[in-house]
Amino acid sequence: MTPHEPPCNGAARTVRLVSAPTRPADLLLRNVHALDPRAGLDGAHDVLVRRGEIAEIASAGSLSAPRGAETVDGEGRHLLPAFVDPHVHLRTPGQEHKEDLETGTRAAAAGGYCAVIAMPNTAPVVDSAPILGALLDAAAREARVPVGFMPAITRGLQGSELTEMAELRGLGAAGFTDDGRPVVDAGIFRRALQYQRLCGGVLALHEEDPSLSGKGAIHEGVVSALLGVAGIPSVSESTMIARDCALAEYEHARIHIQHLSARESVAVIAAAKARGVAVTCEVSPHHLTMTDEDVRGLDTRRKMNPPLRSEEDRQALVEGLRSGVIDCIATDHAPHARDEKEVPFEQAPMGTTGLETAFAAVYTDLVVPGILPLGLVVEKLTSGLGLLDLFVPTIVAGEPANLVLVDLEAEWVVGESGYESRSENCCFAERSLRGRVLLTVAAGAVAYRERSTILSVTSSAGQR
C-alpha cells in the first residue's frame, strides 16, 4: 500500500462479474488427477461439488455420489482450477456478426474458462454508464460464464478526454483500458493514473507508439523484409511500456501491461518490478508458441497486434513466465468474420480467436516438450483476475466450484469440428494439438461438456 492508496469506498468499488442464471451443480468427479499448485494438490482424488461449491476432496475411489448428484468418472484425467482471462473481445455492442456475449462466453467455457473480462473497443465504445449498464444487463441474460467489463480510459478511445471513471467504477467496471490503442498523450495518461486514487481500478494498457508502428502489419525483421510488408518494430512496444512504468511509478498507480510480445518489453518490466513499480503483465498463447516465421504464408488468421515476433522474443516470453516477470496468460481472443479476414494480408483486421485453444496450444508446445511444468501453466492461466483484485480459482473445499476436466492425451485438430465462437479466425487452425477440455464448471455450474464426454457420464436416478 502506498500513501496514495485511496480509502476503500466499499459499494462503489465492487466489480461485477455477471452471467445468466444457472443451476448450481451437484457433481461427483471420481478418480481424477487433481492439480492445483496453489492448494498443494497433485494426485488422484475424488472431488465432490454440492450446490455449486466444492464440498469435499478425498482420496480416489473413496466418495460415492449423494442422491441426486451426477457422477463423472475421470478415469485418471486431470482436474484443474478453471482458467480466467482478463483480456477478451466479445464484440458486443455493435459487432455481433463477429461474436456476442453468448457465443463468446460459450467459447470461453469450451476452452476451460470460468470468467472473462471483455474489452471496450466495440461500436459504440464502452465509455459511459448507460452502455456499461446495458452490457451488464445483457450479460445477465446471455453469458454462459461470468463476464466482467473494462470500460475505456478515454472517451471513444480517442485519447483526449477521460471517461467518467468513478461512475463507471460505481457500476462495477473491472478496470479501464483503451485496448486496441495506446493512450498516446502522456499528459492524459498521467491524469488517468492520478484519478485512479479516487476510483480505483487497474489501468490495462495496449502499448505501442503509433509513430514507430506506422502502417506496419507484421514484426519488423527478416520476414517483413522478405515479404515487403511494413514492419512494427519491437521498440514500438517497449518504449511505451518504459514511459508508462515511469509515470505509474511517479503517481504510485497500478498498471497492467497487455499482450507482451517483445524481449525488450520483458526486460523493461523486469526492471520496473525490481524497483517496486506496481505493474503486472500478460502474454498470449500465440506469442508463446509462434513466431514471424509462421506468417511467411501471409495467413490473415496470424495477423494480430502486437505481431508474432522473432524466436528470440518468443523464448524471452517463455522465460518471463518461468521467472515470474510475466504474471498471467491472456488470450486477447479477437474474433473477426470470415469475409473480413478473406482479404489480402495488409487489408485484414488484426486479431485471432484464442479461448478454445489456449490451454491445448500452451500444453502442446511448452508442457509436452518439457519446457514448462504443467503446474506453472495452470497458475498462469488462473491468475489473470487476481491481478484485478477479483478472484483466483482454486480447488479447495468450501470454495465455489470453478473446475476444468482435461484429457491431456487427447489429440485434436483445431477447427475440424468447428468452433463455439461465432468466428473462425484462429491462428492455430488446422494444427493438431494435445489436451482437450472435457468439462468446465464455472461459478458452480456446468458451463461446458465436450460431446463425447457424455458417454463416460453415469447419472444417478432422477438426474439427466
Binding site: V222, A225, G228, L298, V343, P344, F345
Partner: protein, 313 residues
C-alpha cells in the same frame, strides 16, 4: 508451372526455361505480322488494382501476339469502386472462365490469395511491395542479351529498396542466376533484415565502380510526404546516377518511368550504356514466355502421365 506468383518460387532452371522460350518469341516481334497461334482460343484477363500503363499494355501485347483474347479490367470505374471485395470480384470474373488472370494489387500476397480462389492460372504483375516477378524476368533477359551470363557479375540496386517490389524480385532473380548483388540507398529506405535475401548493403556510392550493372530504382514523390529523405535535392546529391558516377563500361538499368534529374541524370538516360528501352522490349517477349508457360506449358504437363495436383476450387 501453374502460376507465376513470385521469383522466390522459381528455380534457376525455371527462369532459364521461360527466358529461352522468350528468346524464341523474339523473332516474332520482328515479323510484319507479329502473331503466332500458340494461345488461340485462350482468354487472358488483366485485373489491375493499381495504375499501370506499361505493364498492362505489355501483358496485353504479349497475349495478343500469342493470339489469346484479352479482357482488361481496371479497378477504377468498376464494381471495385462500388465496394466489391477482391474475392467477390475474382469469383465473378472467374464465372467468365478466363484461362489466365494477370493481377496487380497494392497488397502483398494478393496474387497467391487469388490463386486459391480460382481455377485460372495466375500471373503476378505486382503485389504491393512484395514481388514483381515478370519485371525481374525481363531484367534478367535483358542482361543475358547484353552480357551473355549473369554468373559472377556484380549488380548494384540503388534507391528506395524499402518500397520496391522490383528490388525484392530482382535481388532474388539476380542471385539465382549467379550474380552478386549490393543494395544501396538512404538508411531510411533500406529495410531492416534485407541482407537475408543474400545481398550486401551500402549507404553510399563510394564503391559503385565495383558494379558491372547499376540498377536505379524509381524515387517516388510520395515518399517525400513521409519524410524518408530530407529533400529530393539531397537524395539526388547522394544517390543520383550521373555521368560523374557511372563508369564507362557499366550497364545502366531502370524499371521506368524515370524521374530525370532525381535518380538518374538526363545524360545517363540518353547514354548508350542505358538499356532502359531494351528492358521495355524484353517485357513483351518475356511475358509471352510467361503466358505460354502457365497456359500451354501447364497443359503439356497435364497431358503427361504424372498425377496432377488437386486444383483449389
Amino acid at each position: 508451372m501453374r502460376h507465376l506468383l513470385s521469383i522466390e518460387d522459381l528455380t534457376r532452371d525455371d527462369i532459364e526455361r521461360i527466358l529461352d522460350r522468350a528468346a524464341a518469341f523474339e523473332e516474332v516481334s520482328h515479323r510484319d505480322i507479329k502473331k503466332v497461334p500458340a494461345l488461340r482460343g485462350r482468354t487472358v484477363l488483366n485485373l489491375f488494382y493499381e495504375a499501370s500503363t506499361r505493364t498492362r499494355s505489355s501483358f496485353e501485347l504479349a497475349a495478343k501476339r500469342l493470339s489469346a483474347d484479352v479482357v482488361n479490367f481496371a479497378a477504377s470505374g468498376s464494381s471495385v469502386e462500388k465496394g466489391e471485395s477482391l474475392k467477390d470480384t475474382v469469383l465473378t470474373l472467374t464465372a467468365h472462365s478466363p484461362d489466365a488472370i494477370v493481377i496487380r494489387t497494392p497488397y502483398a500476397g494478393a496474387a497467391a490469395l487469388v490463386a486459391s480462389w480460382t481455377t485460372a492460372a495466375i500471373v503476378n504483375a505486382g503485389d504491393g511491395k512484395h514481388e514483381h516477378p515478370t519485371q525481374a524476368l525481363l531484367d534478367v533477359h535483358t542482361l543475358r542479351q547484353k552480357l551473355g551470363s549473369l554468373e559472377g557479375r556484380n549488380i548494384w540496386i540503388v534507391g528506395d529498396v524499402a518500397h520496391s517490389r522490383v528490388a525484392r524480385s530482382n535481388i532474388l532473380a539476380f542471385r539465382k542466376m549467379g550474380a552478386d548483388v549490393t543494395v544501396c540507398g538512404p538508411p531510411t529506405l533500406i529495410p531492416r533484415g534485407i541482407e537475408a535475401l543474400g545481398c550486401d548493403v551500402r549507404y553510399d556510392l563510394d564503391d559503385l565502380r565495383e558494379a558491372d550493372v547499376v540498377y536505379a530504382l524509381r524515387m517516388q514523390h510520395e515518399r517525400m510526404d513521409q519524410h524518408f529523405v530530407p529533400s529530393l535535392r539531397e537524395y539526388a546529391a547522394n544517390y543520383q546516377i550521373n555521368g560523374r558516377r557511372l563508369g564507362p563500361r557499366q550497364v545502366l538499368m531502370h524499371p521506368g518511368p524515370v524521374n530525370r534529374g532525381v535518380e538518374l541524370s538526363g545524360e545517363v538516360v540518353d547514354s548508350p550504356q542505358a538499356v532502359i528501352t531494351m528492358q521495355v522490349k524484353s517485357g513483351v517477349v518475356v511475358r509471352m514466355g510467361v503466358l505460354y508457360e502457365v497456359l500451354a506449358g501447364a497443359r503439356d504437363e497435364r497431358s503427361a502421365p504424372q498425377p496432377t495436383e488437386p486444383q483449389l476450387a
